[in-house]
Symmetry: C2
Subunit: 387 residues, 2 copies
């Protein structure tokens, strides 16, 4: 077990269709992170800043990492925007952990943000679509839902019982989101609801897809050996992993596995010195229900096809052996692109400190987050413990 | 003197209005970097990748750091896009140096890219404009040339002889660009040409402004103690600095200094353990001629107003005491946004290895690069030596 850094503060806005603009969302998440630090912290101590955002067209603001330092009330620290599509947040966390682990920074601020609902559907399709492959997929008319529909088709061809498992992912994550005050959807759905919903990209229906969301999240990261200056209950980052793959799914050997996730997961667990059995709950990138099944397999928590049984057994539900996405996941909490990877760590921060109220995972000591960019072209994994 | 990392390979495309698309530009710069490594290197050894790009509208490709790994022929390494407007390249170098300095990576690839000439003027104005302040500047009609025009007006109000110095920056950098086969403009200009040119944003005329450019550059970065596995003539990165400031110039105490540059410069020299006198030539961010004067002062090579005399004395010209922008600078070499900060290091790589042909700075042993995002909202500085 390694301790590469510690999270000592975390903030989160509501996710959903929000009135607030991007600057207000950033400010709110950052203020939340600072005020969550048990023994307080001076803003002037921040000496490294990272912003994760896709930077949607509707925002119309560039050099956005400097916007973050303005809204955070900071005076001149180094600041960097990191953009790896939907995995931006995970990569920004990785950059911040490395900065403090090696002494390059004493206090790093990481924020993730997206304002998605103030642009037209056409413009949003463009902004989302370019994060997948353009030449072979987008310009041929394939949307993200279409790509994941193809993947799900292939998965169900191999594992026909997967259809029930896909529905169960939606049911479970909506049930979890009911208990998350920041979630975009707080609504129970049944397997029948899922099956009866309009098709989006066969076999995926409306409840198999995450929504379009506004929102922001922020973290304060310090060197592990400094954590107790800020709080008695830090959350340690033990391991990091990242990987990449071809953008176009047709250029990969197999549709139903993401090599980027496999690389990231193996590296993160090795980096942490942890076995799968030691990890007690997961936050995985369920942009579509099929993505949660793939994640369980790519990260090694199930054999190929084994995510079906794992899911249908109830193991991944609240109270199960390996809860997955206790905050509702992208599916019900929402998916403001740049914020998602940061939001996953916010949930880990609450859970490992025992502050997750009625969605608390009992006796949670070790957790893993998994964040994917595009349809698996980039991915990060991080492993956390409560020390 | 510290040795934080070493550059062992560098590649560069021509800068200008080019036929090649973004993927071809990336491939060309990366191939150049690999083939420049004296003792060769396996592409499979690359274990960390950074892409600097503003990501222009005409490109229509997102998750672009995964595009870079594709074009570089790499299989799945971690890859990160870094975007800090015109300072993206400098921040990407900084991330790569830190990754190898601390052993997180053994061989990092950094590439910078912009394809700017395949979009309409209107779209380009938007893409460039959003990197400045939006609320107080862009939406009020102020372009980047307008902001730098205001800064230059204030500078000339304080230091009226500055008008000749601005012209001399253009004359000098065009003379330098004549000797750079990758430069967009290879054309001698005189002070009379500069004064007679059409006004763009008074007092700045056509020859005070850098052009719109396509181009890419790439670097291979390794731990300092591994450098001699690759070449007998590595270029060491001794120090790094970065800083930020408010986006809107009206929110700053003074128009004629960039606090972000001052912070970055002071940190980089301290990090390197170098004094100003030890630095033998500079690559500074001369997006407009006034920016070169500001850089000399902000980096401490001249007192406020002192850049006028330094420039008019010929000290910053080829053969002078402190050559500035021997490659022609943004002014004549061109300014493909994401590529610029990487291109500056390419020049340092050639110069410190004695490979700069007829623009060689004699006996060059130590150099500094300076890269600015927006009108001074973000900045990086790096210090290099030939070991």
């Amino acid at each position: 077990m390694a301790r590469r850094a510690a999270i000592v503060g975390a903030g989160h806005t509501r996710f959903g269709v929000l009135d607030e603009g991007p600057r207000a969302l950033l400010r709110s998440a950052v203020d939340g992170a600072f005020s969550s630090v048990d023994r307080g912290v001076e803003r002037s101590s921040v000496d490294e800043v990272f912003l994760a955002t896709l930077g949607f067209g509707g925002w119309q603001i560039g050099n956005s990492s400097a916007v973050l330092t303005e809204e955070a009330g900071l005076e001149g620290p180094p600041t960097t925007r990191i953009e790896n599509a939907c995995a931006s947040g995970g990569f920004a966390l990785r950059a911040a952990v490395r900065a403090v682990e090696h002494g390059d920074a004493g206090l790093a601020l990481v924020a993730g943000l997206e304002k998605m609902t103030d642009v037209s559907n056409a413009r949003r399709r463009y902004w989302l679509g370019v994060s997948g492959d353009t030449e072979w997929e987008r310009l041929a008319g394939l949307t993200f839902a279409g790509v994941y529909g193809l993947i799900a088709s292939e998965y169900l061809h191999r594992y026909p019982q997967g259809r029930e498992a896909l529905a169960e992912v939606a049911v479970k994550n909506h049930a979890n989101g009911l208990k998350n005050p920041n979630a975009q959807f707080r609504k129970r759905v049944t397997r029948e609801d899922v099956f009866r919903a309009p098709r989006v990209a066969d076999p995926l229906g409306l409840y198999d897809c995450c929504p379009v969301s506004d929102g922001a999240a922020a973290l304060l990261v310090v060197p592990a050996d400094q954590a107790h200056r800020y709080t008695d209950t830090p959350v340690y980052v033990e391991g990091l992993g990242a990987g990449s793959d071809r953008l176009a799914v047709q250029e990969r050997a197999q549709l139903t596995r993401f090599e980027a996730s496999r690389r990231a997961g193996a590296r993160a667990l090795a980096d942490a010195g942890r076995s799968h059995r030691e990890v007690q709950f997961l936050e995985v990138h369920d942009c579509f229900t099929i993505a949660e099944l793939l994640a369980l397999e790519d990260l090694g928590f199930a054999e190929p096809g084994g995510a079906v049984e794992l899911t249908l057994s109830g193991a991944t539900a609240a109270g199960g052996r390996l809860p997955v996405n206790p905050d509702g996941g992208l599916k019900s909490k929402g998916h403001p692109i740049g914020a998602t990877g940061v939001s996953q760590v916010y949930e880990v921060f609450l859970q490992l400190r025992g502050q997750a109220a009625d969605r608390q995972v009992p006796h949670a000591e070790t957790a893993l987050t998994h964040n994917v960019g595009g349809a698996g072209a980039t991915a990060t994994v991080a492993v956390f413990s409560r020390g």
